[in-house]
Subunit: 371 residues, 2 copies
């Protein structure tokens, strides 16, 4: 695994520094992070449960992944005890707001224990300021988990790994090679810094499965640090990809995906009818509205935005029925944004400029007569 | 899915009666069962967590799978609040003991909420008496989950489905076609009876992923009832197998696996040096000791058993190094049983009598000179 860390500056995937466990996906990895944080904060909870404890509080940004809430539900923390920290206009967690939220939870007699920062948010592709968040976690003694499921792949590119500055200070990280890197589903990794903690936290030591009287070094039997029993050898996919592409190959694929995304953004910037949600995107996300000719140049009041809100779903319907393209859309209610397209590029198959042109041209073709 | 229920007597996999969700394995399915039970017992826990609640108590048998304890840890119940109910000599949960355990928990001011019965225990292949356990769950208002990961496949055989009598009364069931049925890892199903409960319990309603303004019936978008986000289409494996084999084909494969297991048991019964752990096994499990010639006919005192305890690990080492066979072994400490072999047959590849002979002959060949 060490070899995939192409970026010497942030060589975070190193067998000497991280304990790695494949998981069934990013949601599960985020749950792993929360479980470890809880075990670290209240080790007794493994045996005794949460019944007698004060409410534990977790923090993530309002642009973070919904799985943090699901984890809080499953783990008995409660979704109300996940505080959604406000983000800036680009979707990045605001450190000053995080501090306020932590102080407020303490003032309410609750016990903060976990911060999930995001490196590559789902919609806008934003990277939370990890250095500043790590400082705050250090100050208040909180576990720093980084949900880098989407953006973690940039680590493998010298050109782009600066986005993840501060990641090396995380206590745990979720990274999905099955997202931007294009590994076949499922290939998700959970990484944590403290060696042995996963085993202490998760082991059940079932003597009928994890025998210690074997003829080889049983420290290689790592199954009991997981919460799963039988598992696919998903790590093999990443290993095979790495053997096939090499670190330089990974880097080229990533740089190409980022370049295609930049090309796409610049292409639609000069097309009438396309409007970007943000001027700049940190990851390969490009979010935009398509404004049909009939709606251009009009006053952009509520009625106008109500119409725009229906454009993306309608064009998506037409794209699916015509079979030429699938592309996601969504609103972002906490930012007051109505339905817009979210277009992302990934490493496989390597996107070309022609692919990019196809995307906006199809949207233009199928949206021209709306509404 | 309905079509795989070959056994009309216990047609439990029916789209009209069960809500089905593929999961990442049996451990996760058992956790799904416990989460639903907890949500049913204390719906507020989803938002508020377990902090202010009395301790919740779960019950499983001492022969049940360790994942029930792991689930209790993750879900904030605590491993101490999983009561291991005593089993009979065959490894089946004793209903009278379950009742005692429930009453004791109530007397301690705790809140029983969940019983995980096992249909096909890992080691001995025992089937808990589901009818009687269902009666007790009904009496005390507890959720009945059945961990049928291993033995659930017998449902598809008219000849053997009697083992699962009472399964239709469960609130939830875990069944792994990737175990006895031989589907490729991973193919695990979680089933629950109350339609919509999974969605209510697990949904986060993230508007950026689960849009409601689509042109088709969004009730087919079932992703939000799961705790995972991106998932493999594991159900496809079972569907493909069923299309290839048909219900009758499944039944033949199961009957063949059970028959091969019976043949193996009868074969070693007449071989000197082989001793069965039980006279009868309900599933395809056959558990046995191999007694090397040098240890036969001696007084079976502690020292003798200490030697026997080392035989299975040594033979397993030799089997692995010779590359001819892999077979599991384990002790069963709560029954005072030292290391013994656990041999199971499954549907794929279909086991033959020659395969069965190979197994005991290899063990005999490599164990003859011990100790």
């Amino acid at each position: 695994m060490c070899g995939v860390a192409a970026c010497p500056q942030y060589c975070w995937i190193s067998k000497w520094r991280w304990d790695i466990c494949p998981s069934a996906g990013g949601s599960m990895s985020n749950m792993y992070g929360m479980v470890l944080a809880r075990y670290k904060a209240v080790p007794d909870s493994k045996m005794k449960g949460l019944s007698g404890l004060p409410p534990l509080v977790a923090f993530t940004s309002e642009d973070g992944h919904y799985s943090v809430k699901k984890a809080a539900h499953w783990l008995g923390i409660g979704t109300e005890n996940v505080v959604a920290v406000k983000t800036d206009s680009h979707g990045r967690m605001m450190p000053s707001r995080l501090t306020c939220c932590i102080q407020q939870a303490i003032a309410e007699g609750k016990k903060p224990f976990f911060v999930s920062a995001t490196a590559g948010t789902t919609v806008l592709g934003a990277f939370d300021p990890l250095e500043q968040i790590a400082d705050i976690c250090h100050q208040y003694g909180l576990w720093l988990h980084v949900d880098a499921c989407w953006g973690g792949t940039l680590m493998l590119s010298k050109k782009h790994c600066h986005c993840l500055k501060g990641l090396e200070r995380a206590d745990s990280v979720a990274w999905n090679p099955h997202k931007m890197l294009g590994a076949p589903l499922q290939c998700a990794l959970f990484l944590t810094k403290e060696k042995g903690l996963m085993h202490h936290c998760n082991s059940a030591s079932a003597s009928y499965l994890f025998q210690q009287d074997k003829f080889y070094d049983v420290s290689f039997d790592t199954g009991d640090k997981s919460v799963q029993c039988g598992r696919k050898v998903d790590a093999f996919k990443l290993w095979l990809m790495w053997k096939a592409h090499g670190s330089n190959g990974f880097e080229s694929l990533i740089n190409n995906a980022m370049d295609a995304s930049r090309y796409f953004k610049e292409a639609i910037q000069v097309q009438p009818g396309f409007r970007l949600v943000l001027d700049e995107f940190e990851c390969t996300n490009v979010c935009f509205w398509f404004i049909p000719p009939s709606l251009r140049g009009q006053e952009e009041n509520d009625e106008w935005w109500n119409k725009i809100h229906t454009v993306a779903p309608k064009i998506k319907e037409r794209l699916i029925l015509s079979g030429t393209l699938m592309i996601g859309y969504q609103p972002l209610p906490h930012k007051g944004l109505r339905n817009f397209f979210r277009f992302v590029t990934s490493c496989h198959p390597p996107p070309t400029y022609a692919d990019m042109d196809h995307v906006w041209q199809e949207i233009e073709r199928l949206g021209a007569d709306l509404w």
